[in-house]
Symmetry: C2
Subunit: 201 residues, 2 copies
């Protein structure tokens, strides 16, 4: 293949993006995760440079102004962003990258890098989604209500993605994403070099 | 998914389309093969209604005039065609169909049914392709030469397909096509019904 794949895993908050990405990395160990930068405070168990790069707002805005992000967004009062340099370096080296981001971010990446593979994770139902967000125990009732409203609207964006994967069962959803990644490596547009090789031989 | 997949396996003569399709059917037993009609004489081991519908030229031309083919072509003096009715009935019933056809035919299907999944099988090299056609022992030297010239030109069409799969190893190539089929089932455009279901629940 000409270069690495940028696989964007996205969807409403609480759809299960994080769990799926963890499973995917276990199944496809060679894939690299893109680590985002954020101004959000670390949650319990999160590690600097692995979960996120935790930086303050001043620094984040500086980097926005320097055009250092592939995408960034302010979500529920906090900034999140994907550093360009790291991602492009990996792709050129032929490495596949997973990007786990919200919908606003994914749509920006699509503009900046349309060759990416855009996957929308669907919660099995909005009721199920509510249980999941509540179960996380990190958000107030007001925040949960806002997220549910948001999730309903966000379902409209699913069709701006290449794929939709229903997360009714984490194992099955992860398996589907694995098939998508392996299939995308055979896309005609990603294999221009191969034809000339066959003719030469 | 909204309806069945039409999977078009195509490529130069001798690239290994037939072998790959047989393997694919063993791995994904639920898939149906579309049986083509042809005016070519049966080769040894070929069965009416399974390998092809063998019909005479008058009958074939009648069916062309009645618009009964999804695609048809005259190749090396013989007509080959895919009956529309059978294919569309299966797709509507939610069944996946494999269509093994030459490049002229595949490009016609793409015009008539762009929702299909178009896969171009690449021989590992043109030298290898020559060995394969010769090994089949069914063609004269002149026919082989014509096929080789054709194959060289036909490589240009690979990029009108969705996917290219290198057939350097039948097992591996078949596995890749399996991933493509499973991935395509999650394409956003093929899953419009699912979003409304999630909102209803």
């Amino acid at each position: 293949m000409d270069e690495g794949l940028l696989v964007v895993i996205s969807g409403p908050s609480g759809a299960g993006k994080g769990t799926i990405c963890k499973q995917l990395l276990m199944k496809m160990g060679y894939m690299k995760v893109s680590v985002s930068a954020t101004t959000r405070k670390p949650r319990q168990g999160e590690t600097e440079g692995i979960s996120y790069y935790f930086i303050d707002e001043e620094e984040f805005i500086n980097r926005i102004n320097n055009g250092e992000f592939l995408e960034y967004a302010k979500v529920y009062g906090n900034y999140y962003g994907t550093p360009k340099e790291e991602v492009f370096k990996q792709l050129k080296a032929g490495n596949d990258i997973i990007l786990e981001i919200d919908i606003q971010g994914a749509l920006q990446v699509k503009k900046n890098y349309p060759k990416g593979v855009f996957i929308f994770i669907l919660p099995p139902s909005l009721t199920e989604l509510k249980y999941r967000i509540e179960g996380r125990g990190t958000d107030s009732k007001e925040v949960i209500f806002r997220r549910m409203e948001c999730a309903y609207d966000e379902l409209n964006y699913a069709f701006e993605y290449d794929y939709v994967v229903l997360n009714d069962h984490v194992e099955k959803a992860t398996e589907k994403i694995k098939h998508i990644i392996l299939a995308e490596k055979n896309r005609a547009i990603r294999n221009k070099a191969i034809i000339s090789k066959i003719r030469e031989k």
